[in-house]
Symmetry: C2
């Protein structure tokens, strides 16, 4: 309890624990209503850029304001400017969701506020991270030689893959700096984060090769190998290949086993980007999509994408964590503790020093769902996607523009780009659902991705009716 | 509402909204009790490495478990293995805290689950980030030419400073790769993240110069300038100087104005690391410590350190955001939206693509405290530190080993290193408080950092009594 003297002097928290209790209950009630009433919101807000900034005060308050006023402004100013990612008809990019169990975990993480930079600074977070990532590794059928750690996003996980790959081939980097001429590879349908990692690390876009794909948008292994050979002849040093299981545009699956063989022959690091599709490996009947990923040097998969875990939580598995440790470990005097073989200091394996207690929400989600219910949800999403893809393909005015292995449908009106772009804009403006777009080669294509735990078949039906109705108006 | 059909088929969330409501209230009550009863916990847990992992199941559950069981295990297994960063007598590293308002903001962020990678994907998060960082910029007396964005940690903010600095001096990096011979500078007391950034970017530790400090642990500007000149003569390319306001070991303040002049003369990027002390710029009478930082090219300061905001939230200000955009922007087809001068896509200014809605908690904290109460808390921490430093200095067996400009006291027993290390271990094992250690030159020194919003003078008295009592036992 805060002493009266303390409160009187103006120090201490802005709310007492009892005030926190009262407003905490109010926030929980709002969240419970939000979880049950998400469909009442337009998925995409009806706002122009700058509207919210213009509506908010230009200056922070000199004196503290009451929580009633803050929560009122949250409801009246912030919520109407939100894109509702938790909405069951959010189908843009990759659909994600914060499950109730995940939200409860986040609430506790916020209150505990522990920082797991070293074991001693948060034994619970350090060991729960290792435990939950061990569970997930097993659910995904990966060997226990993979060491797991959590980053915020897949972009940062992939950055660490390239750092480790560079360290293996050029161990002088840590002290002397990276050699020039390192070359990275991924398919032309790989996520932009691979190219961004090459830019970040000073490798340069011109030394990142976008390998062409086959008719089903899968990396051409023959062209990968010939490019590696050509680069070697030119004096370059191939150091990392990123294969993708579930590319962002089109969710195609690179032939990972073949790529692993190429990487093995040429001594190149294999990173597997399964940020989106990775959780599907939990389902035994879908495991074939992952053939070969057990031979990867590193893997990224995102529970905040398709495991109903609130953003952010990206999982990075690496077969040789000591390589990353060699590249990045620094233990300044103010962080040194006694060594112990089981006291892992996670700061040694990454760029960020501070670490939120992210594994807590994953633990809540994995325990609350269990493997069975997680599998059922994933299968349900794929089933709903397959059904919708069939309906789209059967419609005379629409076409499906790519295979639909998972839960993301690429489709378009049989019409020109401008008409499709107008259809997208009209659908999204209506607020019933939210789609995004991509390009397959030059072909402008709409994308509908299913992955939200709240999505039902009725949502799918309404989405498809809305798309057809908007198309009829064009 | 979830349909019965849906629940029956095993799909959908693992908890209904009503179950979320019930357990949410239970979690809020636990958190309220935690906030008022934090002093009942040992700050550092009585656990050996591996204890928690050994106690937890080795395999994830096949079937979902009830939330009652999960919350029970949280209380009985996780909490006893926590280092309690929110405890009022956590004085290690830098003391931080999650205020009640900040926790409420995090709860909403978790439930909303919005990702602000581009404006359209979360207008509220994008614009609230710009609004709150505008408020903070004004509170800190920084010119509005600084563009603000949020990263997870100061390490990642500083990484972006070096990326921007590299881009300015070597704009060919994005396409062609970074030139060799870039050299970075910081004082030998700078945070390890500066050196780690140089390692990450492939610059190499040998091209990061640790500039010696004066008797008060401040960077020697004369030696910085002569080193830059010497490096130029040797054919190296000086590209970034990091000056620190509040170094991690000893909270010394580099002469930023003088360093800015050196950087100006030599065309070198100036990054200011004010991760810890930055929020003090809110207090007008302390603004003199920040002389010159308004001339920086970039600045990092961490509201999750000393602004009572739950981890993680690091603020990065950059004077020329277009440089960072040039270095890192990539807009793949699946993320392209119509351009609008006020629709900022924050993904363009950083490595991570996904972005939690972090500004919400900062908005809650800034509004709930207001500037006045924020200032009062910061002043209170400094006052408590000054008082304790005076008491330590007056004690015959203790000495204060460095100036105490802010809220962090470096001190030690007048005894050898082993005795001081034993004192540290005994104090921390007791659980009443948690201290950490550092080295000032070769001198092993204890550190006591005040920054937790719940800390009172009574906590300080108890801490000092405990330290003295443990010292008497040695």
């Amino acid at each position: 309890m805060m002493s009266d003297e303390k409160r009187a002097s103006g120090q201490g928290d802005s709310l007492s624990p009892d005030e926190f209790r009262r407003y905490g209950h109010e926030v929980v009630d709002w969240l419970a209503d939000y979880l049950s009433g998400q469909r009442e919101y337009p998925v995409l807000p009806n706002r122009q850029p700058g509207d919210l900034m213009d509506a908010l005060p230009a200056h922070g308050p000199a004196e503290g304001e009451g929580m009633d006023a803050i929560l009122k402004d949250f409801r009246e100013q912030i919520v109407p400017a939100l894109t509702h990612w938790n909405h069951p008809r959010f189908f843009a990019y990759f659909a994600v969701s914060a499950s109730a169990a995940g939200i409860l975990g986040e609430m506790l993480t916020a209150g505990i506020n522990a920082n797991g930079m070293i074991w001693q600074s948060n034994p619970a977070a350090t060991e729960l991270e290792m435990t939950t990532l061990g569970w997930l590794r097993e659910w995904c059928g990966l060997p226990d030689t993979f060491f797991g750690e959590i980053f915020d996003t897949a972009s940062v996980s992939t950055l660490h893959a390239l750092i480790a790959a560079r360290e293996r081939i050029a161990p002088e980097t840590r002290e002397e700096g990276a050699p020039r001429g390192l070359v990275s590879y991924a398919s032309e349908y790989a996520h932009s984060s691979v190219e961004k990692a090459a830019m970040t690390l000073g490798i340069g876009r011109n030394h990142h090769r976008n390998i062409p794909v086959d008719a089903e948008f899968r990396m051409r292994t023959d062209l990968l190998e010939s490019q590696i050979e050509e680069d070697r002849r030119q004096g370059y040093t191939p150091f990392c290949v990123t294969a993708t299981i579930g590319t962002t545009s089109v969710t195609s699956v690179d032939p990972v086993a073949e790529i692993a063989a190429v990487c093995g022959r040429h001594g190149v690091w294999l990173h597997v980007d399964a940020a989106y599709a990775g959780p599907l490996a939990i389902c035994p009947e879908l495991r074939h999509y992952f053939d070969g990923w057990e031979r990867a040097d590193s893997i990224v998969l995102n529970p905040h994408k398709w495991m109903f875990t609130p953003i952010d939580l990206s999982v990075f598995y690496i077969r040789h964590p000591e390589i990353l440790r060699k590249a990045l470990s620094l233990a300044p005097a103010y962080l040194r503790t006694a060594e112990h073989p089981r006291a892992v200091n996670l700061m040694d394996y990454g760029v960020p020093l501070g670490r939120r207690f992210r594994s807590l929400k994953l633990w809540f989600v994995m325990r609350s769902f269990g493997r069975a219910k997680m599998e059922e949800n994933l299968r349900g999403h794929i089933r709903m996607a397959q059904e919708l893809a069939a309906r789209i393909a059967a419609h005379p005015r629409f076409e499906v523009t790519a295979p639909t292995p998972f839960s993301t449908i690429c489709f378009r009106l049989r019409a020109d780009e401008a008409t499709n772009a107008r259809l997208l804009a009209e659908v999204n403006t209506g607020g019933t659902l939210y789609l995004s777009q991509t390009r397959l080669g030059d072909l402008y294509t709409l994308r509908l991705a299913i992955g939200n735990v709240f999505t039902t078949q009725a949502d799918m039906d309404l989405a498809w009716e809305t798309i057809q109705r908007e198309a009829e108006k064009l």
